[in-house]
Symmetry: C2
Subunit: 344 residues, 2 copies
C-alpha cells in the first residue's frame, strides 16, 4: 500500500503519469454528466482510447452497468496490459475500478475524481464496488488505482448541492482525526471554505488511516463514523419519490448527528461537542424529514452493514473532537433513540 495521489492541474498530471508507463490500450469510463463537462478537459492529454459512457447516478451502480462496461472492454479487445481511466464521481470510480479489477482477473486503472466527495473520499483507499439488491457496495474488492489525479477545476462542474454533499466527508475527517481543524472548520460558512486546502487535508487523513489498515481489519473502521445509520438512511431513501432522495453526504450528515448522539449517550463525548456538531451540520444541511414509519426500516438496513459480526451491529463512535473508537456494539433500542433524537 502506498497510493499515489496528485493534486495538480489535470493536463500536467495526466502527461506526467503516462510518460512513465507503457500501456497496450486504454479505455475511459465516464457518465453522461462527466462526458459533457469533464471529459473535454482531459481528452487531448490522454493517449489513444475508447470512451464508454454509463448512465449517471447511484441507481446505475449495478451489475447491469458493469456488463455494459465489460462488454465494451471485450469489444475493444483490451488485454491485461491495458489501462482503465475513470473520470467521474464515486459511482464511476468505484464501479469502473471494480470492472478493471475483475476484467481478465485485473488490469490497471487510474482515478480522475471530479466531485468533491470522490476527491476527498472515494478515490483514495482502494475500496471498489457496486450496489446489489439495493445494498450499497455489497459487491466489490479492495484494490489500489495506479494513481489518483485530483484537480479542483472539476468542482466548477458541480451544483452547490453536490459540493455540500462532499463537504460531509471533510467534516467527518476533521471529527475523527483532527480536532484543531474541526475548530477552524466550524467557524467558517460553507460558502467561504477553501476547497484546495480542505481536499489536501482530507486526502492526507484518509491516506494516513488507509496506509495503516488497507483492508479494514481495525483502524480503518473509524472512517465509517456517521456511516452505519447514514448508509441505512441513504438506502432507505432510495425507495422514496425522486424529490426526496438523498445524496450520500446528506445522509452521512444525518448519520453523524445520530451517531454523535449515541457517542454522547455513552459519555464518550460531552454535550458541548454534540451541540457544536448539530449547530454546524443543521446550518449547512438543514434537517431531513424522517417519519415515524421510516424508523424500523432504517434499523433493518443496518443489519447488512459490512462492519457487523454475526448479529452484532458495530459502530464507529466519537471519543472527542478528533478521536474515534470502532467495533462498538450498539443495540436496536439505542438506534431507535438516536433516530428519535434527530427527528425531535
Amino acid at each position: 500500500m502506498n497510493q499515489t495521489v496528485e493534486i495538480a492541474p489535470i493536463a500536467e498530471s495526466i502527461k506526467a503519469f503516462f510518460s512513465t508507463r507503457s500501456y497496450s490500450n486504454a479505455i475511459v469510463i465516464a457518465d453522461n454528466n462527466t462526458k459533457k463537462h469533464c471529459y473535454p478537459l482531459i481528452k487531448e492529454s490522454l493517449p489513444k482510447h475508447n470512451l464508454v459512457v454509463v448512465k449517471s447516478g447511484e441507481e446505475h451502480k449495478t451489475l447491469i452497468s458493469c456488463e455494459l462496461i465489460w462488454g465494451e472492454m471485450t469489444k475493444a479487445e483490451l488485454d491485461r496490459h491495458a489501462v482503465v481511466i475513470n473520470i467521474g464521481g464515486g459511482v464511476i470510480g468505484d464501479m469502473g475500478g471494480f470492472c478493471a479489477s475483475v476484467y481478465k482477473r485485473g488490469i490497471d486503472f487510474i482515478q480522475i475524481p471530479t466531485t468533491l466527495l470522490s476527491q476527498v473520499d472515494a478515490s483514495v483507499g482502494g475500496k471498489l464496488g457496486i450496489d446489489f439488491q439495493g445494498f450499497k457496495n455489497h459487491l466489490g474488492v479492495f484494490k489500489l488505482p495506479e494513481s489518483v489525479l485530483i484537480d479542483p477545476v472539476f468542482l466548477k462542474s458541480l451544483s452547490e448541492r453536490e459540493l455540500r454533499s462532499g463537504f460531509a466527508e471533510i467534516i467527518k475527517h476533521c471529527l475523527i482525526a483532527d480536532g484543531d481543524k474541526w475548530e477552524q472548520l466550524r467557524t467558517i460558512d460553507f460558502e467561504r471554505q477553501n476547497w484546495a486546502d480542505l481536499i489536501a487535508h482530507s486526502v492526507k487523513i484518509k491516506k494516513w488511516v488507509v496506509d495503516q489498515d488497507p483492508t479494514e481489519k481495525g483502524l480503518r473502521k473509524i472512517l465509517n463514523f456517521g456511516h452505519t445509520l447514514g448508509h441505512a438512511v441513504e438506502t432507505h431513501f432510495l425507495s422514496k419519490p425522486a424529490g426526496q432522495k438523498l445524496l450520500h453526504g446528506e445522509a452521512i450528515a444525518v448519520g453523524m448527528i445520530m451517531e454523535g448522539y449515541i457517542s454522547r449517550s455513552r459519555k464518550m463525548i460531552d454535550n458541548e461537542l454534540l451541540d457544536q456538531m448539530e449547530e454546524f451540520i443543521f446550518a449547512t444541511y438543514g434537517k431531513v424529514n424522517i417519519k415515524p414509519d421510516d424508523v424500523e426500516a432504517i434499523i433493518q438496513h443496518t443489519r447488512q452493514d459490512k462492519k457487523n459480526k454475526g448479529k452484532e451491529i458495530r459502530f464507529s463512535l466519537l471519543k472527542g473532537a478528533g478521536e474515534c473508537a470502532f467495533d462498538v456494539v450498539v443495540t436496536a433500542a439505542e438506534m431507535r433513540k438516536a433516530i428519535a433524537y434527530y427527528m425531535a
Copy 2:
C-alpha cells in the same frame, strides 16, 4: 502466498480446519451433481451452514449463477466473518471462490475439489472467475482459499470421461516441469495410473510454480502450455451440438498436440518427443473431429487469450520434456499449420 493443501480423508481434514477457526456463519456451494454424490460425504462434519445449489456445467459458470449465489448469501445475512465452502469441480471452485472474493469486498472460502481436474489444477493457485460472453474466465480475481481439502474418495463419483479430462492437466504438469515423471507416465495405460500419487505430484508442481509467481507476471504462464489453442478449441466447440461438446481436458489434449507441433516447428523440441506425445495422447483421448470450417473461428478465439499483449498472441511452448518457455509470439499462419497438422 503459501497455500495450504491437504490430501487426506475429507471428514478429518474438515474437522482439523474448523477446529482452528471461528466463523460467524457458513454457506456451502454445490451443483446438482455434487449435492447428490459428494455433499452427503461431508455434511455431518461441517459446522452449521446453508446450502446453495447451482446448475451443473460450464455453461452455468456465468454472472446469472453468481447473482443467485450472492442473493442467497445476502438472504442468509452472511457478514465478513463468514466462510464459503465450495464442493465441486472447477466450475464450482472458480465461481464460488469468485463470489466469496467479491461479496462485501471479500470473505474467506475453502475449496473441496471433487473432480480430478479440479484436484490437480483449478483448486490450487487462486485463479477464480467466470465466463463472460462466451469467453472463458473472462471475469475474475486472484485470491487464495484459506485451505484446499483434497480426498481421492470423490473420484469414485466421476465418469471415466471426466477422469480422463482431469488426466490431461497431469500430463501437462509432467511435460512442462518433470521429464522423468513424463517418461514414467507415458508407459502406463490410463486405466492403470495411480491417482493418489499423481494428484500429490501435480499439486506439488503447481504449488511450486504458483508460489514463485502468484499473479502470472512470468513463470506461471508455463501452466498455459496447451491452453492457448486448447481454450480456443474448447470455446469454439461450446457452440456445437450437445454430442460434440468437449470437456476442458479433452480440449487441452488437442491443444498440447497443436502447441507441441509449433514447439517442434521452431526446433524447441525434437521429433521423438512430439511422436511420444501424439502416441500417448491419441491412445488416451482419440482424435477430435475438427473441420476445415472451424479453423478460422478457433484462431479468432485466441485473440481474447489473457496472455496476449496488444495484437500479439503469446504461447507457452515446450523446450524439451519437463521444460517450458513462455511469452513466445506465434503468428496466425503458424496456428493454421498446427491445426492442419492435428487434422491430418
